[in-house]
């Protein structure tokens, strides 16, 4: 699957983490007076100033993992997500299915040019898609798994042959890159290509990118999609300035002071609520595609089931599902939602968030392993995990203490808050929890995703509007990449793979739900909550803000940028 980061919620990638941590503390002190400067002082009309904790990971659309929306503004796609996150035609003018849905034929617009004046033809699409198929790079790289061949019979026709009908056509996420610039580079070259010019064919052109400071995109008035060129997008934005701010308090104050027009996702419900009633500020709560959870290290040796993998640094006791189930029972999730999210979310169960609609498996209240410490103690007792030496911590029959390390990233404010609440809940049922809430994030990411040297890790995922991504995280193929459990189950794996090319929607949903149930019953994840998305924007400089599922500025839809207009 794709090289996607865990934290799309804040649009911070794993790679970005590496560059990110360590300096935000200092920056916090400096940021506020710099906002105006970073935004370019005076507000010109038709400029959207977008305040964010993290603006961009790389101008390279092939390897970007955290800010697809910014790339999609610069690069066209065959399809796009509208504000309900439904796939719609974009550069393509028609999409025809044949061969039972396994073959997709696109007709594309004619006369489209890249920003450097070169024409965009089906050859560019063929080149791009073959690159994604071969490298599996980028946010949607994983969706290219079932793609077999790409044909370009003429300049305006592209035919995609899949191994079966794709559950989500990757055309909706794949930026079309100019073959005349990229061709000839080896995969290694592409990995490190700086792409400073960012030549695409999209609605905006790159003006300036200063890492960790600001990203400036200028309107491409020649873009086919603008209504002035008989396209469907009525927006009049001349420029987008995405400015990096150090913390949410600064973002909120910048919005108050008319230094920015829109905030990124605010994870503090109080900072968000504090914006209510400010003049010209609209405060919105959007449905989220987000899950807050902790993943448990269940890295098992495939040759010796029940034994830890030689590369795992986790506590081997966690391989016993009874202990993991007890953790789930010990957790009072409503309290977590109330205290950490200020009630702005739902308590968690399965690996897909309810924002995915039909694909979400609803576990009936009575069947949820949640909020029952007595039950946790009971099943631990029954399995022989009792406190023999009277120190308040249970031991296994072999005398090993139920002592686990809980790690929490500090980049998202709410993760250490969860960790702080979880610790006493688990201690209450006789486990010892060493809270490690302050290890810096590059170390943590290395520790969990690469070294497998952790026990429990609080983390956030934001999923694209499709089931495949979140299911893929728990695939056996994701060890060392996305997996934050090292879970590998044959039955789950088979369902996950099969649903990717299941043409019958009802059957696919059935598979997706079965996979969720299997993973839920493994207790390798303890999903704590499904938060909603909290954002705010100003409606005095810019008007026409849409309501977008998963946030006014979401990773998945560029609609907001294309339809807002100057007041």
């Amino acid at each position: 699957m794709s090289d996607t980061e865990g934290i799309l919620d804040r649009q911070i990638s794993r790679r970005q983490f590496m560059a990110y941590s360590g300096k935000f503390g200092v920056a916090a002190m400096l940021a506020s007076p710099m906002v105006a400067a970073a935004c370019g002082g005076e507000t010109a009309s038709g400029v959207m100033r977008f305040g964010h904790l993290n603006i961009f990971d790389t101008p390279n659309p092939v390897v970007t993992v955290s800010t697809p929306d910014m790339h999609w503004l610069v690069y066209d796609r065959l399809m796009e997500f509208d504000n309900n996150l439904s796939p719609q035609l974009s550069l393509a003018t028609s999409r025809d299915l044949s061969n039972g849905g396994a073959t997709v034929t696109y007709k594309i617009r004619s006369g489209v040019e890249f920003h450097d004046g070169e024409p965009l033809t089906s050859a560019d699409i063929k080149y791009s898609f073959e690159l994604y198929r071969d490298t599996k790079k980028g946010l949607f790289g994983g969706f290219f798994e079932p793609l077999e061949t790409v044909e370009a019979p003429d300049d305006e026709t592209v035919v995609l042959h899949f191994s079966g009908p794709p559950a989500l056509d990757p055309s909706v996420g794949a930026p079309i890159i100019p073959a005349h610039i990229w061709q000839g580079m080896s995969p290694e070259d592409i990995d490190i290509f700086g792409n400073d010019e960012m030549i695409g064919s999209g609605a905006f052109k790159l003006n300036e990118y200063t890492p960790d400071t600001r990203l400036v995109l200028d309107r491409n008035s020649d873009w086919w999609g603008w209504s002035s060129n008989d396209g469907p997008k009525t927006g009049t934005l001349e420029q987008i300035i995405k400015v990096q701010l150090a913390n949410e308090e600064t973002i909120a104050n910048s919005l108050r002071n008319d230094e920015i027009d829109v905030t990124g996702t605010l994870s503090s419900p109080d900072i968000w609520a504090g914006l209510q009633g400010e003049p010209n500020v609209v405060v919105e709560e959007y449905p989220g595609l987000v899950l807050d959870h902790f993943g448990i290290n269940v890295y098992e040796d495939p040759d010796n089931p029940g034994q830890p993998h030689p590369n795992s640094g986790g506590n081997p006791l966690l391989l016993d599902p009874v202990i993991r189930e007890a953790m789930s029972w010990a957790m009072d999730r409503q309290r977590l939602v109330d205290l950490v999210l200020g009630g702005r979310g739902e308590k968690g169960t399965v690996v897909l968030p309810p924002g995915l609609g039909d694909a979400f498996l609803e576990i009936p209240e009575g069947e949820q392993a949640n909020g029952n410490p007595a039950k946790a103690r009971e099943i631990l007792d029954a399995a022989g995990y009792v406190d023999r030496d009277g120190d308040g911590v249970r031991e296994s029959p072999d005398g090993e203490k139920l002592s686990f390390r809980l790690f929490a990233s500090t980049v998202i404010d709410r993760l250490p808050l969860y960790a702080e609440l979880i610790k006493p809940m688990l201690e209450d049922v006789g486990m010892e929890i060493q809270g490690v809430f302050g290890e810096d994030d590059p170390t943590l990411i290395q520790r969990v995703f690469v070294d497998a040297d952790w026990d429990m890790y609080t983390w956030v995922w934001q999923t694209p509007p499709d089931a495949t991504f979140m299911l893929s995280v728990q695939s056996c193929d994701q060890f060392g990449n996305l997996s934050d459990t090292y879970y590998c189950d044959a039955e789950y794996e088979a369902l996950f793979k099969a649903q990717q090319t299941e043409g019958n929607p009802a059957q696919r949903l059935d598979m997706v739900k079965q996979a969720q149930q299997i993973f839920y019953d493994s207790f390798a994840y303890c999903v704590m909550a499904y938060p909603t998305k909290l954002q705010a924007y100003r409606d005095d400089n810019l008007v026409g803000w849409p309501f977008v599922n998963n946030g006014i500025t979401t990773n998945w839809s560029t609609e907001t940028f294309l339809i807002v207009s100057e007041a």
């Binding site: 941590s21 360590g22 300096k23 935000f24 503390g25 200092v26 916090a28 002190m29 913390n247 949410e248 308090e249 909120a252 104050n253 503090s268 109080d270 900072i271 609520a273 504090g274 309290r335 109330d338 205290l339 950490v340 200020g342 009630g343 500090t410 404010d413 250490p416 808050l417 702080e420 609440l421 006493p424 809270g435 490690v436 809430f437 302050g438 290890e439 810096d440």
Partner: protein, 301 residues
């Protein structure tokens, strides 16, 4: 004739002197107005810190429901609650111990390094002095806060790290002060006599020089403690403290990151700020008064 005999004739050993003088110094300190206020405040804080450590868990338990968040102060919720429904009252009490512990422990490290460098450098003199003071000046010149932030960010997070980082970055000024004092002691008769009868340099430094600069060291240590407490608060506010423990700086950071500052939840913000100020003030008052008492030259000025 023993070395001690000779020295005893010329002057009491510094060790005796310091021991005999302690009650007198304390008495003089008490008689200065500043000293008295400082000592009382300090005593209150020590009692508060110990009581807080014994009475409450760190971190204090979180609330239960959404209504427990940011409760305003009331009879039931003395000083209110923060964003997780934790009692501000309890956080203040457990935070006092952290501030004191970090302040004292970091200062102990700084004083240990500072006195070692200052005394050896001042007593031995020559090239060693030049070299040691070169290093010391370097540490004085490097802006302390950025260095501390970098060290705290690079090393593993935790209270020991904070203590060590503050300790190893604040020894340079005491080292300079102590060296200056040692230089003036070095040519005194009792030292020359001790040298004349063949006492080894280390012995002289330990039994004669150290006790005579002890007053300066102590006064300086108390002032250093005030600075260390502030530094801990700054680091905790910047998110570089021990994230699993509540300290006053951490309370301020929580207040900031949870939006309490702009929402006007003063009970989350003002109490830790006020207590940090008072604690630092108490150390500063005592430290300044003590300097005056034991260094009459300065008092004369």
């Amino acid at each position: 004739m023993s070395a001690e005999g000779i020295v005893a004739e010329g002057a009491p050993t510094g060790r005796d002197r310091a021991g005999n003088q302690a009650p007198a110094v304390l008495g003089q300190l008490w008689r200065t107005g500043r000293g008295k206020i400082g000592l009382i405040l300090l005593a209150v804080f020590v009692v508060y810190g110990v009581a807080g450590y014994l009475a409450y868990e760190n971190p204090p338990a979180a609330g239960e429901t959404v209504e427990d968040r940011f409760r305003a102060p009331s009879v039931d919720y003395l000083l209110g609650t923060d964003n997780l429904g934790r009692s501000v009252w309890e956080q203040l009490a457990v935070g006092a111990g952290i501030s004191l512990a970090v302040g004292v422990a970091a200062t102990a490290i700084a004083v240990l390094i500072g006195s070692t460098v200052g005394i050896t450098s001042g007593y031995i003199g020559g090239r060693f002095d030049q070299f040691a003071m070169g290093i010391t000046d370097m540490f004085i010149t490097i802006p302390a806060l950025p260095l501390i932030i970098v060290l705290a960010a690079v090393l593993s997070r935790g209270l020991p790290t904070i203590i060590v980082v503050i300790g190893v970055t604040s020894w340079a000024v005491p080292a300079r002060l102590i060296r200056a004092e040692v230089l003036s002691q070095r040519e005194r008769t009792f030292i020359l006599r001790a040298k004349a009868i063949g006492m080894r340099p280390l012995q002289i430094m330990w039994t004669h020089v150290l006790p005579n600069v002890a007053g300066i060291v102590l006064a300086n240590a108390i002032l250093l403690t005030a600075a260390a407490i502030l530094t801990e608060a700054v680091l905790a506010f910047l998110g570089l403290g021990d994230p699993s423990l509540i300290s006053w700086g951490k309370m301020l950071q929580n207040a900031f990151s949870s939006g309490a500052t702009s929402l006007g939840y003063w009970w989350v913000l003002i109490p830790p700020g006020l207590l940090i100020t008072l604690l630092v003030l108490s150390f500063t008052l005592v430290g300044n008064a003590l300097t005056d008492v034991i260094d009459p030259r300065r008092r004369a000025e």
